[in-house]
């Protein structure tokens, strides 16, 4: 009947989509999509370092993403370069550094395409465990800190006056995004990861009147995109990661083109 790899892919993809929903909403609200992109690029550096030092790849990617998130937060304190410039420098430097490092590894049989565009169908039970652990951790943190995160997103100064530790919350949000990106890299790859964060959240926006509904809906739409994309990939023998993104795009287009009363 169903093949194991397809089950794994579905479970892994849905797991990532569930977490990516609310986090993606924050990425959209706080205009952080370029941040997601930069971290994703740095994930490739993590892959290279992992192979080079023969560490577990998942751990190497997670550590690399977390470190870059911290570095970025630290560097945002200076005022000579704007954040988007900084992100551009970091994204392409870490990507290039990763590619250069990989070239040093002798007879490494690295499927670069799998890292760049994801290899959802090669997902292993071990990867599922990482997705599960990362997902549960991020969702619990989000649930616990939700009111403070929302207050910070509306207005940082107002939140600070009302007692929200804004700097800590900002760092926590970045670390959570870094973690999800690291874990989700297997699913859609370095180049497409941000789409899994922002497309479902953007699709949920016109249908939502509260931040909670938007976050939840983003999760559900993300799951729908994963299922649709994977089934299409299986049916038409198309690459899995890009198929998921195309499915997300189709959902996005149909929501935005659907005639409806304008909601705010």
């Amino acid at each position: 009947m169903f093949y194991d790899f397809l089950i794994y892919a579905l479970v892994g993809g849905i797991g990532v989509a569930l977490v990516a929903g609310p986090l993606g909403a924050f990425v959209v609200w706080r205009r952080m999509s370029y941040f997601g992109d930069s971290l994703a690029h740095s994930a490739l550096l993590g892959v290279a370092i992992g192979i080079f030092f023969e560490i577990n790849l998942n751990i190497a990617i997670i550590i690399c993403c977390l470190l870059l998130a911290i570095l970025l937060v630290a560097m945002q304190k200076q005022h000579f370069i704007a954040t988007d410039t900084l992100l551009g420098i970091m994204a392409h430097s870490s990507l290039s550094l990763g590619l250069v490092t990989i070239s040093f590894i002798e007879d490494a049989r690295i499927d670069l395409m799998a890292f760049l565009f994801g290899d959802l169908l090669a997902i292993l039970p071990e990867d599922l465990l990482w997705i599960l652990l990362g997902g549960v951790l991020v969702l619990s943190l989000l649930y616990y800190y939700w009111p403070q995160m929302i207050a910070m997103t509306i207005n940082e100064e107002l939140a600070a006056v009302e007692g929200v530790p804004v700097a800590k919350m900002r760092l926590l949000l970045m670390l959570m995004i870094a973690l999800v990106i690291a874990v989700a890299m297997k699913i859609v790859g370095v180049l497409l990861i941000t789409s899994l964060l922002i497309i479902p959240a953007a699709s949920a926006r016109p249908l939502s009147r509260s931040p909670e509904k938007m976050a939840l809906l983003a999760s559900l739409l993300g799951c729908a995109a994963v299922v649709m994309g994977l089934l299409a990939s299986f049916e038409f023998d198309t690459p899995a990661g890009p198929s998921v993104v195309v499915a997300a795009m189709v959902i996005f287009m149909s929501i935005y083109l659907w005639p409806r009363k304008v909601a705010h």
């Binding site: 609200w29 009111p147 207050a151 939140a159 006056v161 009302e162 931040p211 509904k213 909601a263 705010h264």
Partner: protein
């Protein structure tokens, strides 16, 4: 009995070497409305943020009463249009509140009819009222307002200042606000601090509140308003805002405030 809730002593703040606040000291009390006035770049907002704890002074002391609850109404609140939010939800972002408290708060600023509306469709005046309601829901001992009437039409401004004045009367809280509109703020303030990096002068505004037609008149004619506050300057400023040396009496006599006045 008015008690001190905030004391600033010899506060100095500079940004990248440029002095923004110079040796400023003042106290805020309960049941007292203090208004900061001054030109752009005078350091008013910086000073308010210091009171709020958002900016740490380079030197000097900022003392707040223990467990002082501050309600803050920022100058402008831009909420990204990607963020879905109703008025009701906005009022209980940081904590769940009983719906009776919410109803009271919106009623006290006359925006009850907007409770279910999206926050993105509000006018400038409605937004300011909403921010005020949100600040009041914290039962503040100190209400801080940074140009509360910005982007509000002239009638709305009069109403807002009246509202702030009423709130002070009902609750006996301290109020610190920044304003450009001297003529309108007069009726609703007990103490005026005029600053341009340093405190130029401070004191009670003239008692003009008894005649409401006065406010109407000056509301319509927005110019020629600067004489309303009795300035007692003993110094003069050049274009950079630095204090000019010279005979204080001569300087005071030569200083005529006009709408073009850079002071």
């Amino acid at each position: 009995m008015n008690t001190d809730i905030v004391r600033l002593e010899q506060v100095n703040i500079s940004f990248s070497g440029k002095k923004v606040v110079h040796n400023v000291s003042f106290n805020l009390h309960t049941d007292c409305i203090t208004t900061l006035i001054g030109p752009n770049g005078a350091g008013k907002t910086t000073l308010v943020k210091t009171v709020l704890g958002l900016i740490k002074p380079d030197t000097g002391k900022v003392w707040l009463k223990d467990d002082l609850v501050i309600g803050y109404v920022p100058q402008k609140l831009h909420i990204d249009s990607t963020f879905p939010l109703t008025v009701q939800r906005f009022l209980q972002i940081s904590r769940k509140l009983p719906s009776s408290a919410i109803a009271d708060a919106v009623a006290s600023v006359s925006i009850s009819h907007l409770l279910q509306s999206s926050i993105h469709g509000l006018s400038g005046g409605e937004m300011q009222r909403l921010l005020l309601a949100r600040a009041l829901l914290r039962n503040p001992q100190l209400l801080v307002l940074d140009e509360p009437v910005q982007g509000v039409d002239i009638n709305g401004q009069v109403e807002l200042y009246q509202l702030i004045s009423d709130i002070r009367k009902q609750r006996g809280c301290g109020v610190l606000m920044i304003s450009h509109d001297l003529h309108l703020v007069m009726s609703a303030t007990d103490h005026v601090i005029c600053m341009n990096q340093h405190i130029c002068c401070s004191g009670h505004p003239e008692k003009i509140t008894s005649d409401p037609s006065y406010i109407d008149l000056f509301g319509a004619a927005s110019a020629k308003t600067m004489a309303l506050y009795a300035h007692h300057h003993n110094h003069d400023h050049n274009l950079h805002g630095d204090v000019l040396p010279g005979d204080p009496a001569v300087a005071a006599a030569s200083h005529q405030h006009t709408p073009e006045c850079k002071h």
